[in-house]
Symmetry: C2
Subunit: 340 residues, 2 copies
DNA sequence: GACTGGCACTCGGTCTGCCGGAGTGCCAAA
DNA sequence: TTTGGCACTCCGGCAGACCGAGTGCCAGTC
């Protein structure tokens, strides 16, 4: 038996009420709060069907109904329209993001803004190095046998690494090194650099080959191997809203998961589809987050995507509002990056 | 009436037992677990005095005793000797810290290590810019009217900022700018730079003065005004150990405090005395942390201090162990910095 | 004078039974 | 297909009883 329109309407009403009140919702309360045009008894019949289909459940006999993960999923996919942002929210976003002086600043402001607007835990990934291009490589002599390698990516990220040279290298040679490295690598996408770096060493005059090899290995490390993704986190205190009722008793597992950068990157870093992604409860692959939902999306200047951002909260979450906010913030951040 | 040795011994026993069991400790259990050489009745008399003096209290009549903040304070100041680290711990520290490739890495490893060893929340401040010197300033042309300013501090910190120039500046002029800026500022402590920067503008030829002024304002901002302190945090999940019993019911206020960098800096950034600092419960000025204790100390290469680190946990904390660990980690990090 | 054993007392925690209310499922009627 | 009615279930709160841990006090002892 398929679900007719009214049953879907009942499900929507249950989700909305439950999200708001955090209490199992019964048939009587439902007809009172929504214009369903039918009696509680009818609603009860519908509820029985919805329960059988797995969209809602009773915490215990003689209690109201609560949406299941599948119920939320159906709600998100078919029953909710994305909420428009209020002008106040738009203004908040703009006000928050202007005045950022560098990339660090942008990311930090963004993550706090997101946490504040959604009242959830917010995560923002720094622009991924893997998706960036090299804008410039700088070599700064620290001592005669030490260089600081500074890589500036087109997304604004700056990475630095110390290079221990095999022997003293005069300043002129450093200038030469810098020129050659930049000629070869500037403008290239990081993913494309490894063979080029190898080429640098091969093309090198024998007398400076040792130095270049040394530099190359650090370059490779910086550009590829340790092109680690960084991220910022904010709003953990929001986990305590609504008591410990969400998250079945303890924040423990959730807090633990939030400590693992690898996990967070999995959550928000999956950037294949350029659309917003919602993972509800059990849909999360990470066991610690079975009682949480994640809303994430990619951001970047124009149509390209350079990183991900998103929020994490209880499955009992205002999905339409959260999705709208996450999208809006991502768009604003993208615009901001485009300006540089 | 002053406290004789046995009463102090009783207090120590209470603290140690309570820290271990997290349960109010009674007179009988006390004489069983410690060789006090007296009967429970005697201990009770001592307890009555200790309570009157404000070092312990009863959660309710007919319950055992629990140390007060003052009790912990006395314990820390006079009753505990600093625990020596186990060889395993020493090894853990060394293993954890070698292999760090840059400052970011050092800080992140340190904070995780600290959280893991103490099983508390750990905070590590990046080497403070205010306490650093300029090692080198680099100017990287991004476009004809844009420079990226990169400042490298002797502590390894690297800050970058975008400079919008008033008009196009040829590459040779950039080289000249770079030379002059470095001649004037390299090697100077950041705190001493503002007048020097002003001097740079004054000494400038009229035709390039506008450019230099522009650069100078960003320099000032980078060097002083926004010489913001950064920090890293780890181990928030440790707050959930021991239930919510510590922290009187909610983690809320604590989590909120941990989100505020300003607050955290106050906690661990107070570096005046080079000794370890312990703040217990109410001794914290921040209201949200009245139920927490903070153990912090400074670190740096050799005897100089460039930043702070510490841990935060419930007042019911293993002070001797925590203090020892915090000190040891600080020393190791200092040594590591000294090597660069 | 300090310590000890004994004793009455207090009070939190747990278990029990009880009750009201909210909500359900089912059934017969519209 | 919807509806009103009704019996049933079960949570949550409340009161009473009981147990045990721990105390304070007092009189006796070293």
């Amino acid at each position: 038996m398929s679900l007719d329109d009214r049953k879907l309407e009942v499900l929507r009403a249950i989700v909305e009420d439950y999200v708001e009140t955090q209490e199992p919702v019964g048939s009587k309360a439902l007809v009172e709060r929504h214009q369903l045009g039918v009696s509680p008894a009818t609603v009860r019949n519908d509820m029985a069907v919805l329960e059988e289909e797995g969209y809602i459940r009773q915490p215990h006999t003689s209690a109201g109904r609560v949406p299941t993960d599948a119920g939320y999923r159906l709600f998100v996919d078919r029953l909710s329209k994305v909420k428009a942002l209020s002008p106040a929210e738009r203004r908040a976003i703009e006000r928050f993001l202007i005045g950022a002086v560098d990339l660090d600043d942008v990311v930090h402001r963004t993550v706090r803004l997101l946490a504040q607007l959604t009242r959830q835990v917010a995560v923002v990934q720094y622009p991924s190095l893997a998706r960036s291009s090299v804008r410039h490589l700088e070599l700064v002599p620290i001592s005669t046998t030490r260089l600081m390698l500074v890589m500036i990516a087109d997304t604004g990220r700056v990475e630095q690494r110390l290079v221990e040279l095999p022997g003293p290298v005069p300043a002129d040679d450093v200038t030469d090194l810098r020129r050659r490295v930049n000629e070869k690598l500037a403008g290239k996408r990081l993913a494309d650099t490894p063979p080029l770096v190898q080429g640098l060493v091969d093309d090198c005059a024998p007398e400076s080959r040792a130095t270049m090899a040394c530099l190359a290995s650090v370059l490779l490390e910086t550009l590829v191997e340790r092109s680690e993704e960084r991220l910022a986190l904010a709003g953990t205190a929001n986990l305590t809203r609504g008591g410990v009722l969400d998250f079945q008793g303890t924040l423990r597992p959730v807090l633990e998961a939030l400590e693992e950068e690898v996990i967070l990157l999995k959550l928000i870093g999956d950037l294949e589809p350029s659309t917003t992604r919602v993972r509800i409860g059990d849909e999360n692959e990470i066991d610690n987050l079975r009682s949480a939902s994640v809303v994430s999306t990619g951001y970047g200047p124009g149509a390209t995507i350079v990183g991900g951002l998103g929020v994490l909260g209880p499955t009992r979450m205002d999905y339409p509002g959260t999705i709208a906010t996450v999208r809006a913030v991502a768009r604003y951040v993208g615009d901001l990056l485009a300006q540089n």
